[in-house]
Symmetry: C2
Subunit: 417 residues, 2 copies
């Protein structure tokens, strides 16, 4: 029941306001008159207040904020009836889908305790996640199809900070995580808006090169990994700022270091090992090893969280196939920080990664004009889930394979070749 009074001194208020400004102006490019739906952990209230202020200053229509709370989430696991775990607030998610259809932008503040549910019954966690994913699908599609401008930023929640810096007292842990978030989000400079413009230009250059090459597949080779990821027909690489179907150019992820595209759902072969732990909705999954045949995971192991991993893979048919492949140099600032964040938004940007599940339709040439059937025919995967996990390190080499079978070095020992 504490509201972390100490942490208020631990989080630099000037940088927090810069983060709010970057979220609204760079992350969302929120338009005059546009509504905004914010979701956040309740402890991130100081950031939500600044985001709300920035949004109204930018001429927002209505800003609506929805808060989650770790203690009430745990209350459900502790006291809730068994039947309740197959339920979700359908009406809320349907409503959000409607808000997006009517033009609202979407901002998520991340930062939940990555281990929140790690001691709860895996069956209940899986059932609750499945019920929520099903209810959330219409709203998530508006985001994954990039119909609207959207953004995720992070807040240094005390419970997250304690997981990242377990040996520090809480205020120190919060201060360290806050500094790491501000650095990765490029708000610890004089002019964050200009820094983001430059960063976006660099990522655009990498994407342009990959789009010029038009590789048929990528070959990953490293310890425990020998994986060929076929790329979807007519795939397109993206990175940094991107234009949503509503015409607004936004930066969906803050931070972001990746360039990414759509793999072919039927053309992934070989085996791959994760290089960082994956925190999935409160459970840690570590040392993942999977084998693909014809694009499908036919074998999956993990040294920790294997039961949750297998439940994830059983979500639906598309959960065993890839929806994204992404390239991140090992020297990226997040990787260089040496911090394991136990949070995909950060850790995926420290490492090359792949994602199980739903693909992004924007990662196709003329993606906005393609029907679901066309996307499927070109190799795009569909699923209730989209879960990124990390497969890059300074020991992994990547080749691009051209349609004629010739090879081009893309990365060597984790760096652009």
């Amino acid at each position: 029941m504490t509201f972390m009074p100490q942490s208020q001194n631990a989080v630099d208020p000037v940088k927090l306001e810069k983060l709010a400004e970057v979220a609204v102006k760079v992350g969302l490019q929120l338009q005059r008159g546009q509504d905004l739906v914010v979701t956040a952990p309740v402890v991130a209230l100081p950031l939500v207040r600044l985001i709300t202020k920035q949004a109204y200053q930018a001429g927002a229509g209505l800003v609506s904020a929805f808060y989650s709370d770790e203690e009430t989430t745990l209350s459900r696991y502790q006291y809730g009836s068994d039947e309740s775990f197959d339920r979700a607030s359908d009406w809320l998610y349907e409503g959000m889908a409607k808000a997006y259809a009517d033009g609202a932008a979407r901002l998520a503040v991340a930062g939940d305790n990555p281990l929140l549910l790690s001691e709860q019954d895996a069956g209940k966690v899986g059932r609750a996640n499945r019920a929520t994913s099903t209810a959330y699908k219409p709203a998530l599609e508006k985001i994954s199809n990039f119909d609207i401008n959207w953004n995720i930023v992070s807040y240094p929640n005390p419970s997250w900070a304690k997981v990242v810096f377990p040996d520090d007292p809480e205020p120190i842990a919060i201060a360290k995580l806050a500094r790491a978030i501000f650095a990765a989000s490029r708000v610890d400079v004089d002019d964050p808006i200009a820094a983001w413009a430059e960063h976006n230009a660099n990522l655009a250059k990498r994407s342009a090169w990959l789009n010029g090459e038009r590789f048929a597949s990528l070959h990953f080779k490293g310890p425990g990994t020998d994986l060929t990821v076929g790329l979807a027909d007519g795939h397109e690489w993206h990175g940094g700022a991107s234009t949503a179907k509503n015409g607004i150019t936004c930066n969906p992820n803050i931070p972001t270091e990746e360039v990414f595209t759509t793999p072919h759902a039927l053309r992934v072969e070989g085996h791959v090992s994760s290089t960082k732990p994956l925190s999935h909705q409160g459970t840690l999954i570590d040392n993942i090893q999977v084998r693909f045949e014809g694009g499908r995971i036919v074998e999956a192991k993990a040294s920790r969280g294997e039961e949750v991993l297998n439940k994830v893979l059983d979500t639906d048919e598309g959960a065993r196939r890839l929806g994204e492949v992404a390239l991140v140099p090992h020297s990226s600032p997040i990787s260089a920080s040496g911090i394991l964040f136990y949070n995909t938004l950060f850790d995926e940007n420290a490492s090359c990664h792949i994602a199980l599940g739903q693909c992004y339709s924007k990662c196709f040439l003329n993606g906005a004009t393609l029907s679901q059937e066309q996307i499927k025919a070109q190799g795009g995967n569909s699923s209730l889930i989209h879960i990124d996990w990390m497969i890059g390190s300074d020991k992994v080499d990547i080749d691009g394979l051209r349609p004629d079978g010739s090879r081009v070095a893309v990365m060597r020992q984790g760096e652009w070749a």
Copy 2:
């Protein structure tokens, strides 16, 4: 941006948990498997956590909590564009209506700063309230028609406490307000559940007497008041616990001291003066004086907040007519506390009162079976608003007028005759 660390010592955690228990077991009579929608100010999080726990312990389906925040509300007034004040989150309110239609119960935690919007532009406040009322109507009807079990309880918000006890330092003000809330809510006794059973029995006895009398009208006489309130044809008095159309017996208001019924929308004559200030959505309206002709307010004055009052009266046609008349003895515990709460949930239970706007269909004989047309034909008022204001004091006498014109003393100097 403070989270009131001091106040945690100011609010007795044992009594707070008893308040949560009374809200769930007496206020809602929450059923096994029933969903619950909670709305609360974000500072009331400690109470929402206990309510969530009690609800899941009682076998709740899903508990969904939605938080408001005074600082982000003010942000809109400070920075929001003019256009935004005609907007509301329609999709959210539509969704809530759907949740209630699907069987969810409703719990509101009250306690906002009653003066929050008092320095904001009255035009904007009126427009925002109107937009919200319009969007909220389908959900509010499920509540005002008593389709579902619902309840309001209060939390001692620091900003509210400072208004009620302006001369005390914040922790003292919070402690005083907390004690007053616990006393009025009857949770400062050994067995609050038993105390509520006894209180409900007493209120039921008063209602039964009034229902036996079947008065045609009530005549209020006091300083600045000479008002005849015709009662609706087939009106029914209620008080304390009541059974919703879903069959669940609940206590909608905690605290409650009133017995109340439906006036006839066309049969109110004379003038009446308020006896306590009315806090309406952040603005204080004081010394209201209105004159009725044929049930309609034809003249309205106030020494403070007159502009807001007139905007309220202009909401729609029904806003100038009465939807409720309620009797509360001047010796009620809330009145006896001598505290002016600036909050209708408390102040209306310290005094006889009338409400502008929407009537309660349950306050008719066989109300659950009546159509909107029948309710109107019997004198029931309809409106987007329902605003109670206080007209009782120890200087007000009330007579009941029988259809034959004979008079029965109902209250003398504010007490049951």
